[in-house]
Symmetry: C2
Subunit: 318 residues, 2 copies
């Protein structure tokens, strides 16, 4: 059931033991929500534990250091920033049907939890921040750092179009009350690992242009992961690159999977619908960013991709 903020607060107030779940491959927003919520609960004298299918990157140690799960027996289970039970990853089998409360910012939330409080905001951390205020929680810097992490990472540090006036207002409040934005920005936006740099360098050598330079494609092979020491979780910043090139309206990154097939990330510039390009290859997504996995080798996948892009480009001209 979809619930309002007031009911969400009542649910939190009326329970004493909590298990907070983040989505798999946890990012700054799901972790920021989870640890900020844990901090609210701690301050209320409630017991709380955290669970996530995957390991947390050491970059987030300023949130996780010193955090220890309380022992919880029959906890009230809350999923934060989880749009679909499948995104719980390997713990979905155990928890998908047992989530009591979902707190999320994805309009596409599948409402898999018993109750879901969802608002279409730039980051789920914006929602946690406002919940906390309405609950009368008096924040400390740790809490504010968690919230800032979620907001800054989900907005590309206030650069993406999801950034709203409310996002800026919350950032102003956090900044006024004190956050360690220096450390967080450095970790989230300024630091590049050597393995990432090498993967980027190798992949950049494959950059190719099509359709009068309106389309750019980068290919990443398993061999490059091996040579660079990077893995596919580090590819994300590269997926944006082809579309950032002057004049390019469709950018794609083709990523070889261990079985030799290629998954494809497509980014576009508004006029071309990326989800349409990917839908023709069995995938989907949003207008500006979508993906597909045509389950074939590089040459065939690229041929399919180019044919689909051509269709969309032709549609544009008409």
């Amino acid at each position: 059931m979809v619930i309002e903020k007031k009911q969400c607060i009542e649910l939190i107030n009326s329970h004493e033991e909590f298990l907070i779940l983040s989505h798999e491959h946890p990012d700054g927003d799901t972790l920021g929500c989870a640890f900020a919520l844990c901090e609210i609960l701690r301050s209320m004298g409630k017991k709380r534990a955290f669970l996530c299918a995957d390991e947390i990157s050491a970059d987030f140690s300023y949130m996780t250091d010193g955090f220890e799960n309380d022992e919880v027996k029959d906890p009230f289970i809350v999923a934060v920033d989880v749009a679909d039970a499948r995104l719980l990853g390997s713990i979905a089998a155990d928890y998908a049907d047992r989530v009591d409360l979902g707190i999320d910012h994805h309009a596409s939330n599948t409402l898999f939890a018993k109750d879901t409080y969802v608002e279409d905001r730039a980051a789920a951390c914006e929602i946690i921040f406002e919940l906390a205020k309405d609950m009368g929680y008096k924040s400390n810097e740790y809490f504010r750092n968690c919230i800032y992490t979620g907001i800054s990472t989900d907005t590309g540090c206030f650069r993406y179009q999801n950034t709203s006036a409310l996002t800026f207002r919350i950032a102003a409040e956090l900044m006024e009350q004190g956050i360690d934005s220096k450390t967080i920005n450095k970790l989230m936006f300024e630091t590049k690992t050597k393995s990432f740099l090498e993967l980027e360098r190798l992949s950049r050598e494959t950059l190719e242009y099509h359709f009068g330079d309106r389309c750019a494609i980068i290919t990443i092979t398993q061999d490059m992961y091996e040579k660079s020491g990077a893995d596919e979780h580090q590819v994300y910043p590269i997926t944006a690159l082809p579309r950032q090139i002057e004049g390019v309206v469709v950018g794609a990154v083709m990523k070889e999977k261990p079985d030799g097939s290629y998954s494809i990330s497509v980014r576009t510039d508004g006029d071309i619908d990326a989800s349409e390009v990917c839908a023709r290859l069995g995938g989907g997504g949003h207008k500006g960013a979508a993906g597909c996995h045509p389950e074939c080798g590089c040459d065939e996948a690229k041929e399919l991709l180019l044919a689909s892009i051509k269709k969309s480009l032709d549609g544009l001209v008409k």
Copy 2:
């Protein structure tokens, strides 16, 4: 003379013809200030002209398109975001002694204008925004886009440490009233030219590590400018790269000048003082970013640089 906001407003109110000066190699903040101020003046029925030593990048055409200088005879001359008369560039000879009013955010302003209104803020556009409010100016989207351009570019889109709660509050107001952040962010932060990409690729091949990987150096040669089609004004984003590498505390970019000498940009991570590193080579700057131009060839310049960095690193260990 240093003046307050009220006097600054009085000076603007009491004149009818204005010449607005930007600093050489104009960036988003000096241009944002200039065109925002011109728009305020236009709305007041005053005449205004703009002058800058160097050409304005086409990226800023959303500010300059349709702008035409009024004819001004004996204008009141205002320099915006100009910390030192020398930064007027090639027009300094004609104007350095004739500036009536400086509006600036550099605490280091040399007070070369007859009157200077200076506040230590993230961007000079923050000051223009607040001036406009106090003047009772009713903003339009063009004005707000100018202000947003200055604020977002001078803060690296809200990522640098100069970003304050006030910066976020102004951004929130701009966003609420309406700005084209999509277009501006795309132009300022998302678009890479092919020539830049090629320069970046070529320069990345020169990346070398020193002192147990705590120092990283990239070298850019004249040959690379020629091969890539980029010029030295496009180097800026590359200067940040070496220090962004995990574990690196001092990053440097050595840039060959047409005469074969090398100018050096040094970026550090707080603990090492970049201005100290550069001062030993006759340069200067800030703690986190500084520069020098030792006027010698690559090998010698690098030797001098490494010796200076070693001294600072040794000082760190003690």
